[in-house]
């Protein structure tokens, strides 16, 4: 027993002498909550870092909430360099273990994200499931947005994406979703957030990427149809203009799409059946809706409108030459052998891939009122 005790002591000796490397006092850490990247002149990037100030962040009932964060930014070639630049500038060490959001400016996205993404997935502190967002203007403005409920602009952005069930046009895309698409033939999409005047934020639509470069945008309606087609649509409010400029708004509560690839003697095609359940929110003049006949023509109207929108998003994605619906993977999974050749040059193949869409919908309630109160 004396031997093991002395061995333990001797083994500890090297440590006591050389101290501990990776122990960082929490007060020496600059806790980074979000990072914004904007394209600056000739290939440089302007990196803005949102750092939380813990002392103001503590919950103070009724206290004056002076800013619980501050943004530091610097421009330079790579992102890693800027991070070190921050460390020299600030008195503390950059710690991005708690990063909640990455915001990328539109020009930077158009310029290509390889270099930016490379820093984030190689960096071992950051996580794979951090949401990424494209700022319509400059990312630094988005990170400075006016605060209403939250204490940090970043948490307001993160909140916008995950909880706005009412108008689910846009889905939270995390870094690994984005990278997964960048690896496969289908193209990735990232939500775009636009800053309207005096601090109002709005999800303007979805940016479409080919590998790492942003090639175009889909507006809100197209983004919704894309979500429906890829079966990731959680529900939301949609409107149809009626011929005599009336409006028929309905809330889609359930949407499911089954996309089945077919292959007759080498000819690849895709058949998408979409099933929607909706509830009428407000309608200008259709009249009572409880009768079967009225219900059927409302459903027919919704089918027609949705069919037209789905077709529109497919043509749009063909224009951008970006397979946003993961058709490539779906076909490859079902027919690996046959689709071997066409997957190689998927850009052309996708342009003339026959896609048949059929929409069936079911209205299951017209709200609390039997017919219009007129």
């Amino acid at each position: 027993m004396k031997k093991t005790a002395s061995i333990l002591l001797a083994l500890c000796m090297p440590f006591l002498l050389s101290g501990c490397w990776s122990s960082e006092e929490i007060t020496t850490l600059a806790i980074v909550m979000g990072i914004g990247v904007d394209a600056a002149a000739d290939g440089e990037y302007e990196v803005t870092v949102q750092i939380a100030q813990p002392s103001n962040l503590k919950f103070m009932s009724g206290g004056d909430n002076q800013d619980a964060y501050f943004n530091a930014s610097s421009t330079g070639i790579g992102i890693q360099q800027q991070m070190h630049q921050f460390e020299t500038e600030l008195s503390r060490e950059i710690y991005n273990g708690h990063m909640e959001m990455i915001v990328i400016g539109k020009e930077a996205a158009e310029g290509g994200l390889e270099q930016i993404m490379d820093y984030f997935y190689r960096e071992s502190e950051a996580r794979f499931n951090i949401p990424i967002v494209i700022a319509d203007g400059k990312a630094s403005d988005l990170l400075d947005v006016e605060l209403k409920l939250e204490r940090l602009p970043v948490s307001r952005l993160a909140g916008m994406l995950s909880t706005n069930r009412v108008d689910m046009v846009v889905r939270k895309i995390t870094m690994d979703d984005f990278l997964r698409n960048a690896v496969s033939n289908s193209s990735a999409t990232l939500p775009i957030i636009e800053q309207l005047e005096e601090g109002a934020l709005e999800t303007k639509g979805v940016a479409v990427f080919d590998k790492y470069k942003m090639v175009g945008e889909l507006d809100q309606e197209q983004a919704r149809s894309m979500l429906i087609l890829t079966n990731k649509y959680g529900g939301g409010i949609a409107t149809i203009e009626l011929p005599d400029n009336g409006v028929f708004t309905f809330e889609i509560t359930k949407s499911s799409a089954s996309v089945k690839p077919e292959c007759e003697n080498g000819e690849l095609s895709v058949n998408a059946e979409v099933y929607l359940e909706f509830r009428v929110s407000d309608v200008s003049e259709i009249g009572e809706l409880y009768s079967d006949e009225a219900r059927h023509n409302a459903e027919k109207m919704v089918n027609a409108a949705m069919f037209e929108r789905l077709a529109d998003v497919i043509t749009r994605s063909r224009e951008l030459n970006a397979d946003v619906f993961d058709f490539a993977d779906i076909i490859y999974c079902r027919y690996p052998r046959e689709s071997e050749s066409s997957i190689k040059n998927w850009d052309e193949e996708f342009r003339n891939l026959p896609v048949s869409i059929s929409v069936t919908s079911k209205m299951y309630s017209s709200g609390a009122v039997l017919k219009n109160i007129q």
């Binding site: 093991t4 061995i7 083994l11 440590f15 490397w21 990776s22 794979f128 499931n129 997964r180 496969s184």
Partner: protein
């Protein structure tokens, strides 16, 4: 009053704990096989069957004798010691490579700033303390520890199920046969092959422990465990699994929904640490007892600390750079390991059977 032999369950728990140490090797298989990585352990098991048959037959021929005593029985005094020295080199390299992976893992993920050599020395210190306490104590301790590890593993798997996406494994078995052959060769030699070290414990097990049966149980549990790890990685990371260096840790980082319990990968990395420490510990002990058998030393107690220092030092230079043990493991190590886990055991089995046949006809008695 307390028995000095390993009981059946203690031997199996040491074996399973040793096989759980492959959690750091998952990138060897998933880098090659990608989305079919979870099928590879089955093929690896099939490729490992000959060595299992060797364990079974040799176990029955020489009940309750360790691998080194078998060598000496089969190859005679000098030949046996040469074969044991070969095994010593093999197990030394197994311990070193595992040690390299473990220190690289803890230097980059757990203790971000610490230099690799310090992590290496800390790992080796823990191994020295365990060996000083004696392998019977380690056997006794591993009984409950294995169950704890398996339960924690199951919990982290179940916790990750909501995030999993089934169709990441979609086009199964479509890759070229070369890919499958290569990854199952890697799996059978590196992941299962290193299990040969457990044969050395045959000498220390109690009377009613049948080597073959327990090795089979250990390898089956190991197979299920490996399938579960790979399945978790593929279902969480999808096609990215081919690119990440430590997929099981990245998969752990992915899980976690609510903000409070979101980042549990530090706890998971501690589990990975314990399992791989056990692997280093057992292979270290096995190479030590090989050295003792070769030079006929009375006790190996005196060798424990210098050998540990050697492994900590040698692991700095074993591979070009400690960070990229992946490159070697995928290309050349399977061939070297195959030599030791397949060729040598088969050779011993053949000689043993021939000797057994030569003896039986003339004297008709057992060996």
């Amino acid at each position: 009053m307390s028995e000095k032999k390993l009981t059946k369950w203690q031997f199996i728990s040491i074996g399973v704990f040793f096989m759980m140490g492959t959690i750091l090797h998952t990138s060897f298989v998933s880098a090659i096989a990608g989305r079919d990585a979870w099928l590879i352990p089955i093929m690896g098991f099939v490729m490992f069957l000959p060595t299992l048959i060797f364990c079974w037959r040799i176990g029955n021929m020489f009940p309750n004798t360790g691998l080194y005593e078998i060598n000496e029985l089969v190859f005679g005094n000098i030949g046996g010691r040469i074969v044991t020295f070969l095994y010593f080199l093999f197990f030394l390299n197994v311990a070193t490579l595992n040690h390299v992976e473990m220190s690289a893992f803890s230097a980059t993920y757990l203790l971000r700033g610490t230099p690799i050599v310090v992590c290496g020395i800390m790992i080796v210190m823990a191994a020295v303390y365990a060996i000083k306490k004696g392998i019977i104590t380690v056997g006794r301790a591993s009984g409950a520890l294995v169950i704890l590890m398996l339960v924690l593993n199951a919990i982290s798997f179940i916790q990750a199920i909501p995030q999993m996406d089934i169709d990441f494994t979609a086009p199964a078995m479509v890759q070229s046969p070369g890919v499958y052959a290569r990854s199952s060769h890697i799996s059978s030699t590196i992941m299962y092959g290193e299990g040969l070290a457990l044969m050395v414990f045959a000498g220390r097990t109690g009377k009613k422990v049948n080597m073959g049966k327990s090795m089979l149980i250990i390898m089956l549990i190991a197979m299920v465990y490996m399938i579960q790890i790979h399945l978790r990685e593929v279902l969480l990371l999808g096609p990215l699994v081919q690119f990440t260096r430590l997929p099981s840790l990245e998969a752990a980082r992915m899980t976690g929904k609510s903000d409070t319990v979101s980042r549990t990968e530090s706890i998971y990395s501690l589990i990975m640490l314990l399992c791989s420490l056990f692997r280093v510990l057992i292979s270290f002990f096995v190479s030590l007892s090989a050295l003792r058998k070769v030079f006929r030393l009375k006790t190996y107690q005196a060798l424990v600390v210098p050998m540990a220092a050697f492994i900590a030092a040698y692991s700095l230079y074993a591979l070009e750079s400690p960070e990229d043990s992946y490159f070697y493991a995928v290309n050349t190590t399977p061939f070297i390991w195959a030599l030791f886990t397949f060729v040598l055991p088969m050779f011993t089995l053949v000689i043993a059977v021939i000797k057994r046949k030569a003896k039986l006809p003339d004297r008709g008695g057992a060996v």
